[in-house]
């Protein structure tokens, strides 16, 4: 059910155009169904009988990013999981415009949660190749996806040998192996070193430039311009 809110037009900004760091090689912006807009209207979340948040709305145009902040347990992860379709909405609606009418929101989202979704007995390359196949993406993008976070030299090694930071990068490479218009990133910078955080930051900006949407929950300051910010754990936030 596509719907579109126009009530907070004032908050819309042009997509961030800041240039990536010159020394960082980045994958080319992916082709994606352009002009996807995502809107939430009055959504609420309940966990274990407790209302984590309610009456939450946002409206993201193509190229816009949303930052979710708030203390632990405020429902940041729950909100991301609701958008990814993993958690039911206690109230409200979530809608997209610009996609085929029958595409569910969850299939437009690439969700990178706390867990990395890596099989330790598969090689780095096999892990990514599986996600590209399963999420119905173009497998020719795999070399680029491996290169996005510098994992190309590790492609043939078992993922079980990777360090925590490398595993996180492998999880984030999924964003490139199976490109989707909406990125849902839950604390993406955990275990990453400074250089990798910059790579991630630049990757998000590139994604926005290409018309994508990013919804990020993070405690690390990023250079990405977030057009909106939601602070959970407070009364009636936006």
């Amino acid at each position: 059910m596509p719907l579109r809110h126009r009530d907070n037009d004032a908050k819309r900004r042009p997509a961030s155009l800041s240039k990536p760091h010159p020394c960082l090689k980045l994958a080319e912006p992916m082709q994606m169904p352009s002009e996807i807009a995502l809107a939430a209207h009055d959504i609420a979340c309940q966990r274990g009988g407790r209302t984590l948040f309610e009456g939450l709305s946002f409206d993201l145009e193509p190229g816009e990013a949303l930052l979710i902040s708030g203390p632990n347990g405020a429902g940041k992860t729950s909100l991301l999981r609701q958008i990814a379709g993993l958690l039911p909405l206690a109230a409200g609606r979530l809608g997209v415009t610009g996609a085929d009418n029958d595409t569910p929101v969850s299939e437009l989202c690439q969700y990178v949660g706390h867990l990395n979704a890596i099989k330790t007995s598969f090689s780095v390359g096999e892990n990514l190749a599986f996600w590209a196949e399963f999420l119905d993406a173009d497998e020719n993008a795999l070399p680029q996806a491996l290169a996005a976070f510098g994992l190309t030299p590790l492609a043939d090694l078992p993922a079980g040998l990777l360090s925590a930071g490398q595993r996180r990068k492998l999880a984030l490479s999924r964003l490139f192996a199976a490109p989707r218009p909406v990125w849902l990133l839950d604390e993406p910078s955990v275990a990453l070193d400074t250089v990798s955080v910059e790579l991630l930051d630049a990757a998000i900006r590139n994604h926005l430039t290409a018309g994508g949407i990013a919804i990020v929950s993070t405690h690390v300051p990023l250079k990405t311009k977030f057009s909106q910010e939601i602070t959970l754990g407070q009364e009636r936030s936006i």
Binding site: L86, E107, L115, N116, A117, E133, F134, R174
Partner: protein
């Protein structure tokens, strides 16, 4: 490769690679069958009479032992979340993972059963039918196990709980599987009616069990 095929291939590969999962299941099957005569005595006539039942019960236990593999690992490492955002509806996802479990558990167990049948002095001419009943019945075993595996996802002592939940559901499979073979050996009557019932149970499980498993998965992922 389509997403469904990719998932099936991946699950089968994982079963091969992760600590020889298939080998352990087969070894378990062998151990359970091999120790029973120590309790019953080596009387070949007695063993031959109870062989179909012992082979089936041991097969159910072996299949159950590996049932939490269907969803557990994917749940623990976050894979299930990403799978759920994929193009496959959840029931189809559950069906494919059950099918992978059947290919890596039911099929090898069924193929091994005649060897164990030798140990129990099962008549040679009963072997083809034994394997046939196991091929017909083990899909039900895997697909029903998937319900238990999704219900106990992330719970403590999930393995024991899984057995408690699922073994009663295996009663019809056991009854028709065993009676097909023993009808063939000692009668009375034709082995066909129980065999067709067994096949019907499997077909119904293939259709219905993924729906239940998907519903349970949805609650587990919350």
């Amino acid at each position: 490769m389509s997403p469904a095929v990719a998932l099936l291939v991946r699950d089968v590969k994982l079963a091969w690679r992760e600590g020889g999962a298939i080998g352990v299941v087969l070894g378990f099957y062998l151990v359970v069958v091999a120790i029973m005569p120590f309790g019953l005595g080596p009387d070949l006539n007695l063993l031959a009479r109870i062989a179909p039942g012992m082979l089936w019960v041991a097969l159910l236990l072996a299949a159950l032992l590996s049932a939490d593999r269907i969803f557990h690992n994917d749940y623990e490492d976050g894979t299930l979340d990403v799978l759920a955002t994929g193009p496959l509806p959840l029931p189809l996802l559950a069906a494919i993972k059950s099918l992978a479990h059947w290919l890596t558990t039911g099929v090898p167990l069924a193929l091994m059963a005649p060897v164990l049948g030798l140990l129990l002095n099962l008549p040679l001419d009963a072997m083809p039918l034994l394997v046939a009943t196991m091929f017909a019945g083990t899909p039900a075993v895997s697909f029903i196990a998937a319900i238990g595996a999704s219900l106990t996802l992330g719970l403590r002592r999930s393995g024991l709980l899984l057995a408690l939940l699922v073994l009663p559901l295996y009663v019809p499979v056991l009854i028709f599987g065993v009676s097909t073979v023993s009808m063939n050996i000692v009668g009375p009557g034709s082995p066909w009616p129980p065999f067709l019932m067994l096949t019907a149970i499997s077909l119904a499980s293939i259709v219905l069990a993924p729906l239940a498993a998907a519903a349970a998965l949805r609650t587990a992922m919350r």
